[in-house]
Subunit: 179 residues, 2 copies
Amino acid sequence: MKGQDVILGVLLEAPMSGYDIKHYFEKHFPDMFVASFGTIYPTLNRMEKEGLIEKEIVLQEGKPNKNIYHITEIGKEAFHAYIQSPIEPKTIKYDFMMRLVFGRYVSQQQLLEWLKQELHQLKEDLVKLRSQDEDPCDCYCDCQKLALRFGIAIQQAGVTELENIIDEFENFGQKETAF
Amino acid sequence: MKGQDVILGVLLEAPMSGYDIKHYFEKHFPDMFVASFGTIYPTLNRMEKEGLIEKEIVLQEGKPNKNIYHITEIGKEAFHAYIQSPIEPKTIKYDFMMRLVFGRYVSQQQLLEWLKQELHQLKEDLVKLRSQDEDPCDCYCDCQKLALRFGIAIQQAGVTELENIIDEFENFGQKETAF
DNA sequence: CTAGCCATGTAATCGGTTACATGATTGG
DNA sequence: CCAATCATGTAACCGATTACATGGCTAG
């Protein structure tokens, strides 16, 4: 699964600009895929050259012009190839968890700070997912609801466990650690 | 958090070869960081040139020689710089969840297969984490136990939710989908 | 006998990030 | 007035992956 595949997937739903695509990503699958403009624009340009998508320039008043991209037949075939390919194993880079593993090299204060910081982040993400889940505007298909539900379950578990950990931390052990 | 940081972290614990490092990664933090030999060996060579680590060649009988790497003072400083830097946001690439989102473009059979496949994978990972948790051989520090506990909680939530989803899937809805 | 483990490495490539550049409009 | 939003792009770089090459030992 690379940028191209996800872009094709969202363009299959509706024609969009690079700017729109990024916001779509952030709103609909923040916990599955991340892409910056630096990825999206060059990818779109390459895809256009390869004939996977077509550009339509939309002039706007008071705003910069938009490049709205439409998926082509070739693009649909490429998406199809992706969706039929074997699922790639998930890859995670979870710095917070790594810090926990190396936690003995920092102070208890630092560790507690990290825990609270991560809890805050997880809660924030959870709120986003939940609000998305309840939003009737976006008419998600059943599958998207499934994805959302799965994501929420995982996120919720993380929040709960972190809360427990922080609780124990504040009530018990203040053992020494050193670098 | 890049390969180098994690390598330094494990070398701080014990001198190791590239081969060992990979296995250490897989055993101790499968759900936090992934690295292939193609990443590890070039990284180790670069790190040696930069003086972060030192190579000790260990001759073995009946097996190829090992390059055991030791962390240097410069390496320790580099690790320290990492551990003091702000925590990087986690990045995930979760193809399975993406497939769920695009689930409407495949058959119900395909979707169900994907769900079962992922459940199988999650369960397998969970067993690994649990066995690691119970293993008294590895004397983990409290922090590592925390990381493990956190990982297990998340993994467990995923398994439970997937089981529910599959259950509903098999008992209800067989609506039509098309590409 | 053959598959798998042990063990290391390199060259080519890829996918993505960072930092920069541009520039108008709107809201506080 | 400043920050944010809208909107696109490029050049340099980086970290990592893939595919290949080597080769002996061990267990089924």
